[in-house]
């Protein structure tokens, strides 16, 4: 297989095409502009369509329209644009339509800074729109993983008739790395009509009603129960995490995306000095790999250092829920678009280590 040297954003765009995406609508925003730029060229080559919409809101509704007529679709943006799309993302979930949404994060809140940050964890995992729906959230830490997880995001979206989200920071979008691309998948026109349609017309076999407007509370509750079962199933079957140097770890870094790979360099350095430190890297942020944290032995692990390019820390809520106060949770954070360095991580770890020693004495 040929290894190409590709930019994260362009690799995601090509992966989408190979996964069967044949429609993209978006509106420009840094740091994700290479995705629409690439797809504007590439989609017509495979018989797909690209639209630069007049706004983020129209873009997500075009994606809804595409999904409703049987075409796998994607949109991408950065935090401020994802906020604008949130009503449409909720509608996709409500109407049970598949689509992939890519968020290349910058710093926030508000318009924020355009440089790399991990500012949208809570938005991605808690509420990418109203109504209490969930999406599988994939968080790549390399260009290769960005490709693999984009493909997976399309597979899960189609499998579940639900939107899924790929969440990366501007660093992974902008950087170039060697990557092996998957083969071009043969696309089939699928007939999408969610269970919502069946509620509206229980006797209908071939009625393609696509809606998230369910006026009868009993219909709505049936759908919500089905969705809840689906979210539980994700928790059992779709959780992904990487455990690095964890076998004998007494100190644990919790980090995803760029922060996680940055922490790996620091961990290697500290391991050379004999410090037993490891990393738990959530790859799916929802469902969160709580088990990896819940399994930690509080008699062995002295602390967890939650490491994020966000101030205040956001993933820390999930880490704390998973360990339920049995293990001390500390933080190492930066924000504003300032890149986390391995020196930041190793200094923060060393500080905590010296505090631990003082505590013992």
């Amino acid at each position: 297989m040929e290894k190409l040297f590709m930019k994260g954003n362009e690799a995601i765009a090509e992966a989408a095409v190979r996964a069967g995406c044949r429609f993209f609508a978006g509106y420009p925003i840094t740091p994700q502009n290479e995705i629409p730029e690439y797809l504007s060229r590439r989609l017509p080559e495979v018989g797909g369509a690209f639209v630069q919409a007049e706004s983020e809101i129209s873009a997500i509704n075009m994606v809804y329209g595409s999904a409703a007529t049987g075409t796998l679709a994607m949109t991408s943006s950065s935090g401020p644009g994802i906020s604008l799309k949130s009503e449409g993302i909720s509608s996709l979930a409500g109407a049970q339509l598949p689509a992939v949404i890519v968020n290349v994060m910058r710093d926030g809140p508000g318009t924020g800074a355009i440089q790399a940050a991990q500012a949208d964890y809570l938005q991605a995992t808690r509420a990418s729109g109203h109504g209490g729906f969930r999406m599988i959230v994939f968080a790549p830490a390399s260009v290769q993983e960005a490709v693999d997880l984009t493909v997976k995001a399309f597979e899960c979206a189609a499998r579940d008739s639900n939107p899924s989200l790929v969440l990366l920071d501007g660093c992974i979008g902008a950087m170039m790395e060697p990557v092996i691309l998957p083969p071009l998948k043969k696309t089939e026109r699928l007939r999408y009509a969610g269970a919502g349609a069946k509620c509206l017309n229980p006797s209908g076999k071939d009625v393609m009603v696509v809606t998230s407007t369910l006026v009868r509370p009993d219909f709505q509750e049936v759908l919500n129960k089905q969705a809840a079962e689906m979210y539980d199933r994700w928790g059992r079957e779709d959780v992904m995490a990487e455990e690095y140097q964890m076998e004998d770890a007494e100190y644990v870094v919790a980090a995803y995306g760029t922060s996680a790979r940055t922490a790996k360099t620091a961990i290697r350095e500290l391991r050379n000095e004999g410090v037993r430190v490891g990393l738990i890297r959530p790859i799916t942020l929802y469902p969160f790999p709580s088990g990896a944290f819940a399994r930690l032995d509080p008699h062995k692990v002295k602390f967890i250092m939650n490491t994020e390019m966000s101030i205040p820390a956001q993933m820390i809520d999930d880490v704390r829920l998973a360990v339920s106060n049995r293990i001390r949770v500390e933080t190492c954070c930066c924000s504003g678009g300032i890149m986390m360095t391995n020196e930041d991580v190793s200094e923060a770890l060393k500080n905590l280590l010296s505090q631990c020693k003082e505590g013992v004495e």
């Binding site: 290894k3 190409l4 040297f5 840094t30 740091p31 355009i114 440089q115 501007g170 660093c171 902008a174 950087m175 170039m176 790395e177 060697p178 760029t258 790979r261 940055t262 922490a263 790996k264 360099t265 620091a266 290697r268 678009g337 890149m339 986390m340 360095t341 391995n342 020196e343 930041d344």
Partner: protein, 188 residues
């Protein structure tokens, strides 16, 4: 430093328009072709023409961790502001390669290897000021041995090789860059 499994972080800094990103990308492409792991990270932000530009390339035989570090193994400084700003970031035992056509104040550090290349002058002699960045790559691979002339030239052919006459010019620039530093010993 000479490839293998150990990791090398190279920072390239200069003005926008000097080919800073091309240097980084060519090192990345060539390393990828050579079967190594490589990571090219451009610094991006609200910039203007003639403003600062810099990027970092990490080359390793193993999995690459941090895309961004406070310290680097190599700094390639194409102008004085980049040299002044980033020279302190070079690790002890590292390398500093300076475009001496534009940089006159050379930092005094005895713990790193320092080399100068008159890249703009050599490029003009070669036939075009545009190939100054290729001269610099030549000088860098000659001193670091991180990639071979052929590996870099293949990357140039793939990425910049649309016009045959420019390709020949780039080949000459690469060779001249290599020759210009061959006999240089680091003052340290």
């Amino acid at each position: 430093m000479s490839g293998g499994t150990s990791e090398s972080k190279i920072m390239v800094g200069g003005f926008g328009g000097q080919g800073v990103m091309i240097i980084g990308q060519l090192l990345g492409y060539a390393s990828c072709e050579a079967g190594k792991n490589s990571l090219f990270l451009p610094k991006y932000g609200p910039e203007q023409r003639g403003g600062t530009a810099n990027c970092t390339v990490t080359i390793s035989g193993e999995e690459i961790g941090a895309p961004s570090s406070r310290k680097v193994d190599v700094l390639i400084a194409l102008n004085q502001p980049s040299l002044d700003a980033f020279a302190p970031a070079v690790k002890a035992g590292g390398m500093l390669l300076i475009n001496t056509s534009l940089c006159k104040n050379i930092p005094s550090r005895s713990d790193i290897a320092i080399y100068g290349v008159d890249s703009d002058d050599i490029a003009r002699e070669t036939g075009s000021p545009k190939v100054a960045n290729i001269v610099v790559i030549g000088a860098y691979i000659e001193k670091s041995k991180i990639l071979t002339e052929e590996q870099i030239f293949n990357a140039i052919t793939k990425k910049l090789g649309r016009k045959a006459e420019l390709l020949a010019l780039n080949r000459t620039a690469l060779k001249k860059g290599m020759e210009s530093v061959r006999s240089l010993n680091s003052p340290n």
